[in-house]
């Protein structure tokens, strides 16, 4: 079967998952089909102690999950850390090229192997403002990862994490999110870059009072009272990006 056809089938199966439990079942089946033994879709948090909502679905051996949690590896696991260094999936054999592996990292990887987890492939999932996450697929020890068969896991990992976010309702639906007018956004853009109302008025050629009004209405839409809060909320929901604020 062609890769395109397979990809389409996997995407459909993932889209049809109506709950996180169902998604776990779908991923277990697709992982099998792609030749992997395990999958793990998780936020890089100390899950047992992290504030909700936090995502984690996996079928790793229970002993490994227990060790992972006891050691609070969520934020420090080498594979998780490495996935903060790239936007595309990577084979675990590439870890040394992504992060400096410490003695503890090597111990973690060795313990994973002894728990029955061999070579793997991890797809990073980063959404600004949300906890970093990833979706990994792993083999049993001794089974090689086929470098020419990683396109499908890359796609499935990305879609699966997105499906988990949808099912967890990590973000309000677009219709329920505050929406700024172009003018409000423009005023906020300059305000977030440190301009005063008077300076903003001069830059975009409207009156000082109108700038004040736009920003007041923008604050009202987000239900906040200070422009710093407004900037943070707008950064979180993507109305404003860090590049907007930090750019030269």
């Amino acid at each position: 079967m062609s890769l395109a056809k397979l990809a389409e089938e996997c995407a459909d199966a993932i889209a049809q998952a109506a709950s996180l439990d169902e998604l776990a079942g779908v991923l277990a089946v697709i992982a099998l089909d792609m030749g992997f033994r395990y999958f793990a879709l998780t936020h890089h948090l100390d899950i047992p102690r992290a504030p909700r909502p936090a995502i984690r679905l996996h079928n790793y051996p229970a002993a490994w999950a227990d060790y992972f949690d006891a050691q609070r590896l969520g934020p420090s696991d080498p594979v998780h850390r490495a996935s903060h260094m790239t936007g595309v999936g990577f084979a675990w054999s590439r870890l040394p090229g992504l992060i400096q592996l410490t003695a503890r990292d090597l111990d973690v990887l060795d313990r994973a192997r002894r728990s029955g987890i061999g070579e793997g492939f991890t797809v990073p999932a980063h959404i600004p403002g949300e906890a970093a996450g990833s979706c990994s697929f792993a083999m049993k020890p001794g089974v090689p990862l086929r470098a020419d068969r990683l396109h499908l896991p890359q796609l499935v990992g990305g879609l699966a994490f997105e499906a988990a976010r949808r099912l967890m309702m990590l973000r309000p639906l677009p219709a329920d999110r505050p929406n700024l007018t172009d003018r409000q956004r423009e005023c906020l853009y300059w305000a977030a870059r440190g301009k005063t109302d008077g300076e903003i008025a001069g830059i975009i050629g409207i009156s000082h009072e109108t700038v004040i009004l736009h920003l007041k209405q923008a604050r009202a839409r987000y239900g906040v009272y200070k422009r710093t809060q407004l900037a943070v909320h707008a950064l979180f929901d993507g109305a404003l990006s860090f590049v907007d604020v930090l750019g030269r």
Binding site: E9, I30, D33, P61
Partner: protein, 202 residues
């Protein structure tokens, strides 16, 4: 309908998911086997790999009725990994030999439909073997189930005596499949009236 699965189509994924859920209900909840459970709902173990084949009998709406897992004996499987001591000689293994495991009849089935599902799955296993060049099935069974299997009329024999392993009485068996096997099932009354369905080729 009875199908063998090895695909990622949404229908195949749904059927496999339903099977893993039914396996959890039967082998973990009902029989109390100590097996890994995913998301509190699905039973999968280390033998569920890309190399395993599944025969799944489903309602037309995709609901699970019965299923079985077939493991190639050229790869690690239960008889050689866990139950070698049940065989007087080396467990049969080779390209034409598959091990049947997780023969699962859905818990929701009434006694009459259960029997039909069982018979259809048995016939499906025979058809699958004949279509795919499988000459022999092996397996492990408890005495009550073994008695049923021996009564199906096919060429079935035990590979050793019944032994207690981890508190369960178990025996290993092998079943030779040939062109005469469907007729033997007929004569033993393993007919499997259609539950709702037609058999489809893999």
């Amino acid at each position: 309908m009875l199908r063998s699965y090895h695909s990622a189509s949404p229908a195949a994924v749904a059927a496999m998911r339903a099977m893993f859920a039914a396996r959890k209900q039967v082998f973990v909840d009902l029989l109390g086997w100590d097996l890994p459970v995913l998301a509190g709902r699905y039973e999968l173990d280390q033998f569920d790999t890309k190399d395993a084949r599944y025969l799944i009998l489903s309602e037309t709406d995709g609901a699970h009725l019965a299923s079985a897992r077939l493991l190639p004996t050229t790869m690690p499987h239960l008889l050689d990994s866990h139950f070698r001591q049940l065989c007087d000689q080396a467990p049969p293994a080779g390209p034409g030999i598959f091990e049947i495991t997780r023969f699962c009849l859905d818990r929701r089935l009434t006694a009459a439909r259960r029997r039909d599902a069982r018979d259809q799955l048995v016939r499906g296993l025979v058809d699958f073997a004949l279509e795919n060049g499988i000459l022999t099935y092996t397996g492990v069974a408890e005495p009550a189930w073994l008695k049923q299997i021996l009564a199906f009329g096919w060429a079935c024999r035990t590979l050793g005596r019944v032994q207690a392993i981890d508190g369960m009485a178990l025996a290993a068996l092998s079943i030779d499949i040939g062109p005469d096997t469907p007729g033997r099932l007929d004569r033993a009354g393993v007919i499997g009236r259609p539950l709702c369905l037609r058999a489809e080729a893999a």
